[in-house]
């Protein structure tokens, strides 16, 4: 309050002076922008709970505690990792590939109009999201200690590097690659890591029959999944809206928000009807994933498209997600919660969507294909997405291989049968509840 009081008096005093006056309103802008970015950061942080609920709900109860623990600890790891070196690599200077100042957040200025610590918090929450996406894809069989190592590496090194290229003034930014809130930076990074991870880990025992046809291992708790999706959707308003890094342009933030909401709704509806048509029933897991798919898809273009376009982008995202789940099953890739279709495939789709629906009047570097901008922006977007995908898969393949050599990636089959909760943590998630496990 001291500070506050001081300010008010300041105000009264300044009332008689021009320039300072201005200083006063710019103080207000800083305070207002900081408030919005911080609140957005809290909402993005809260998404961590959403990821945890979705992931735990879609797997079997015997592994629920393990994934919740991974989900909790990867955010903790990300907090430290992004504090120690992640931030420096991502935002510590304009080098094309890496930043290099601001280790431990020391000797570095905020690159934007809000305090460094507020900016860090917002970015750290993003980093945590990228890390936790992977837990689901590698669920029900990955060793806990291996996961801890992975989560530190991705949040301290891999994610920041990609982030630097696109948001830290790196080479992709230089090319005019546009990813407003992270379809590529966050979701493609997480999604493709999940892809290479789940391939390296091999499918869960019993997830595919000898003839290669998939077995459905049902999620053990759909209310958790539904709750998680709502938490994620809620958090996404901060994820996208907060990426405006301020309230300087209310129209912009409002447009981002409506686009985010419409894409999510359209994604869920499209996924539901696609699943309904394909499999005969409106599937919960797929419809819920559809909402997330729409959200991932709108993340890159949310600022530079019209609500109408947002609906198309979301719809296609939802459909893509259903087919994606199906393709992976077909190819014998076991992604228990659909991390790859939702985050990898739609991360790419959202990135490309900028090149299709983006409008320069709304802030896109160039008009998209459908607005007479021709293919140039689309090309840049495709280039960026592809290179990031390969960089991530390559580097993470290396990381996972190393971890495998050091401590082993996968739990023993006995442990897998009995469940990772017992094997890794010596406890049950529902001790006292009787659980009928026929898998």
């Amino acid at each position: 309050m001291r500070k506050k009081a001081l300010l008010s008096t300041l105000v009264v005093f300044m009332a008689f002076t021009g320039p300072l006056q201005a200083a006063d309103t710019s103080d207000l802008w800083v305070a207002l922008d900081t408030l919005w970015v911080l609140i957005a950061a809290f909402m993005v942080f809260f998404m961590q709970a959403g990821f945890g609920m979705v992931e735990a709900g879609l797997i079997r109860s015997k592994n629920a505690g393990n994934i919740l623990m991974k989900n909790m600890m990867d955010f903790c790891m990300a907090s430290l990792g992004f504090f120690i070196c992640g931030y420096a690599l991502m935002f510590g200077g304009e080098g094309p590939f890496l930043g290099s100042q601001g280790w431990l957040l020391m000797n570095v200025e905020s690159p934007v109009g809000i305090p460094l610590h507020a900016f860090w918090m917002f970015q750290a929450a993003f980093c945590g999201a990228a890390a936790t996406i992977v837990a689901g894809g590698m669920a029900e069989r990955m060793r806990f200690v291996a996961y801890l190592m992975y989560s530190f590496v991705i949040s301290a090194v891999v994610y920041p590097i990609v982030g630097h290229w696109i948001w830290g003034g790196g080479w992709l930014a230089g090319l005019g690659f546009y990813d407003f809130a992270g379809s590529t930076v966050v979701h493609a990074v997480g999604g493709f890591t999940a892809l290479v991870g789940t391939i390296l880990l091999k499918p869960r025992t019993g997830n595919f029959n000898s003839d290669g046809s998939p077995n459905s291992i049902g999620g053990h708790n759909m209310p958790l999944v539904s709750l998680g999706v709502f938490i994620l959707w809620f958090g996404w308003f901060g994820f996208n809206g907060g990426s405006a890094l301020g309230m300087g342009d209310p129209e912009l933030v409002a447009r981002i928000v409506i686009n985010t909401n419409l894409a999510a709704g359209a994604g869920a509806i499209a996924a539901m009807f696609t699943a309904w048509a394909k499999f005969g029933k409106p599937d919960l897991a797929l419809s819920f994933n559809g909402a997330l798919a729409g959200l991932v898809a709108i993340t890159a273009p949310c600022a530079v498209v019209t609500p109408g376009s947002a609906i198309y982008i979301g719809m296609l995202g939802g459909i893509l997600c259903v087919y994606g789940v199906h393709w992976l099953d077909r190819f014998g890739v076991d992604d228990p919660i659909g991390a790859v279709p939702v985050h990898a495939f739609n991360g790419v789709w959202g990135t490309l969507a900028v090149g299709l629906f983006g409008q320069s009047v709304l802030g896109s570097p160039q008009n998209g294909v459908f607005y007479g901008g021709g293919l140039s922006q689309l090309g840049i977007q495709a280039l960026g997405a592809v290179i990031v995908a390969f960089f991530v898969m390559g580097s993470m393949w290396l990381v996972f291989k190393t971890i495998d050599a050091l401590v082993g990636l996968r739990v023993s089959e006995v442990e897998e049968l009995r469940g990772l909760d017992i094997g890794e943590h010596g406890m049950e998630s529902y001790s006292g509840f009787q659980i009928f496990s026929t898998e």
């Binding site: 077995n215 459905s216 049902g218 499999f279 005969g280 797929l286 199906h326 009928f436 026929t438």
Partner: protein, 113 residues
């Protein structure tokens, strides 16, 4: 003495409890089970993958009775459980050699009721 074990449809349990009560069978033990029989199951889809579910939820009754109660009990169970649809279930009767009431240590017919 006999031990009567019946597998019935879960939603018939209230009816069976009632008809047993009317037949003056007041003591039963109930547990739940999954049944696999003629009754056809249903398609389950999870994330687009189909699975034939044919283990259907059932309720399992255990009733220890004196020999002269057997038929009455069987009849009561049938009354309560029958819907005339496949899946109504089965009644199994085995010989009960001894029955002991934990509280009192009484044995045999005394302990049954």
């Amino acid at each position: 003495m006999k031990l009567i074990t019946a597998i019935i449809q879960p939603h018939q349990l209230p009816a069976v409890k009632k008809s047993l009560y009317d037949a003056q069978v007041y003591k039963i033990t109930v547990s739940n089970a999954l049944g696999y029989g003629e009754e056809e199951g249903y398609q389950q889809t999870f994330r687009g993958v189909e699975r034939e579910v044919n283990l259907l939820k059932k309720v399992r009754l255990e009733i220890a009775v004196n020999d002269d109660f057997v038929e009455a009990t069987v009849a009561a169970i049938r009354d309560g459980a029958r819907t005339n649809n496949v899946g109504d279930g089965k009644i199994f009767i085995t010989d009960l050699q001894e029955c002991i009431r934990i509280r009192t240590g009484e044995r045999g017919d005394l302990a049954i009721g």
